[in-house]
Symmetry: C2
Subunit: 311 residues, 2 copies
């Protein structure tokens, strides 16, 4: 009997999205200095890419209105890429001025979701990227493209893998370096991950594909296993499991960085990231949140730390 | 490229352990009639095996002191096996009198854990089973054997797969029909599941092996995927994710039946169980608990039901 998991990647890049995708959903206002400390702690944990903030309008997402201040105040660690989400050219200019090393643009595989999320068709949203991507590349800045609702849409239901490939194809034509395939509502199961990856890998090189899973229904790490089996070696996650999607009712919980690292460490897959240091980063932020971070690993760690200190 | 998950089982038996393994850890006293309603709802959901209660001493586990009353009051559904945990011959006699269709005995792969848990060596605990198993088989009653800490021990750390096989071998010699391999502290990752399954499958027929995962660190469904890849087709789970292990600091969260079913339904693996009906069973019990059930699927379902009712 051939054992499973013999040919999976030996090294994985973890893309930390907590400071942006996580914090943007927090109801309580987070002080700029707490964000800076959080990002600095994540840098020191060894995370190779950190999505620090977003330059969408402060009216749309007041929590991230201090994007420039955060980017200017963080302590850069050599080799770490600091990314910001940018919706348009103006956002890009602000991001460049604040010294980003990567920007992210976003669209969706579902028309209805994209309309609800950014009030544009998928084609319109991609057309808006064109000058953003051109300018970023001229500046030598890497571009990520997010494709939301790639495994299902809260409005449309199932999404065909071919549709995801069509959108990814367009992003590649436009010049995006890497696409992040998002399970925005946390609905995917491993067979669907295999289907979507198989469709994408027919045309897209594996090193340009990242997976962005949500743990809404507990399947995120099972989906990571499926993606690893397909050769995927870039995964987005959020420290503490912070964040979700404000436009998808019932959806919450980005895959937690701690849970992802626990899995990868156990599987002897190298990441260069210290799980203990990520827990410390989450812990320093958690004290000012109005809820417990959802990461299973984080919660278990805090409980056992609590019971140890009572001994 | 050969796709993964092509040869996994097409049908899985879900063993519901919530009424016993879940409720025994609840701090708030659950009325007998609530337990009976819970078991009856689980029967109607289509679960093929339900571990209803335990005949360990009422002093050790006061929550299950009404074992006989519960077993006598539940409404039996044809084809469903109703199981009870029994520590010794006296427990077995009570269980038989109350009309069980299966009993479960328990030991561990770790000596230190077994001593802390039931104050006996592993060999002593198995020796105690001998008359229990003999008498159960004489009555035509099936016997499950639990092997705790098969993937790691809170006191000893790692546990060798060969050690798990040794214990399982003894249980098979003693006449146990099926063994349930427990990740008591929720520490397993998929590679370890492959190692343990590979060691066991060298000598034990796959149809006599069940896996009992905990979601303490979020890896339970990833571990289910690994076990499915190894051909395992029996999984224990607990409605709502109720229960954990009171002797393992920081450990909580049996794999939730809802999360397991969401995965298996998505993978088109037959179980004969209605996910919606399990959610309803958990929901009816949850109103009298002092905490929210930990199942990710259950929580997402309750949130979206809540937001739908506000529309």
């Amino acid at each position: 009997m051939a054992l499973p998991f013999q040919d999976i990647p030996k090294r994985v890049r973890v893309v930390e999205v907590g400071p942006r995708d996580g914090l943007q959903n927090e109801s309580r206002k987070i002080p700029t200095e707490a964000k800076v400390r959080f990002v600095d702690a994540l840098s020191l944990a060894g995370l190779p890419v950190i999505e620090v903030t977003s330059f969408v309008s402060a009216r749309a997402i007041p929590q991230l209105a201090d994007a420039e201040d955060v980017l200017r105040a963080i302590r850069r660690v050599a080799g770490v890429r600091y990314c910001a989400l940018v919706p348009n050219e103006r956002g890009l200019e602000s991001a460049l001025a604040a010294g980003v090393s990567e920007v992210a643009v976003f669209t969706a595989a579902s028309e209805t979701f994209n309309r609800h999320n950014i009030n544009a068709t998928v084609a319109e949203s991609i057309a808006r990227f064109v000058p953003v991507v051109r300018r970023a590349r001229a500046e030598g800045i890497r571009v990520r493209g997010y494709v939301s609702t790639s495994f299902g849409c809260p409005y449309e239901g199932s999404v065909a893998p071919q549709r995801v490939l069509d959108v990814v194809d367009r992003l590649m034509e436009v010049g995006v370096d890497e696409v992040s395939i998002g399970d925005t509502i946390g609905i995917a199961t491993p067979n669907l991950v295999v289907d979507v990856c198989a469709a994408l890998l027919a045309r897209i090189p594996v090193e340009r594909l990242a997976m962005h899973f949500h743990d809404t229904r507990g399947t995120a790490l099972a989906n990571v296993m499926a993606a690893l089996e397909m050769g995927i070696a870039i995964f987005d996650s959020s420290a503490g499991g912070l964040g979700g999607c404000p436009y998808a009712p019932g959806a919450s919980g980005n895959l937690a960085t701690e849970d992802l690292l626990y899995l990868l460490d156990g599987m002897k897959i190298e990441t260069g990231v210290s799980l203990a240091a990520v827990v410390a980063a989450t812990s320093s932020l958690a004290v000012i949140l109005d809820h417990e971070p959802t990461s299973r690993y984080y919660q278990a760690h805090q409980r056992s730390a609590g019971s140890a200190s009572q001994e």
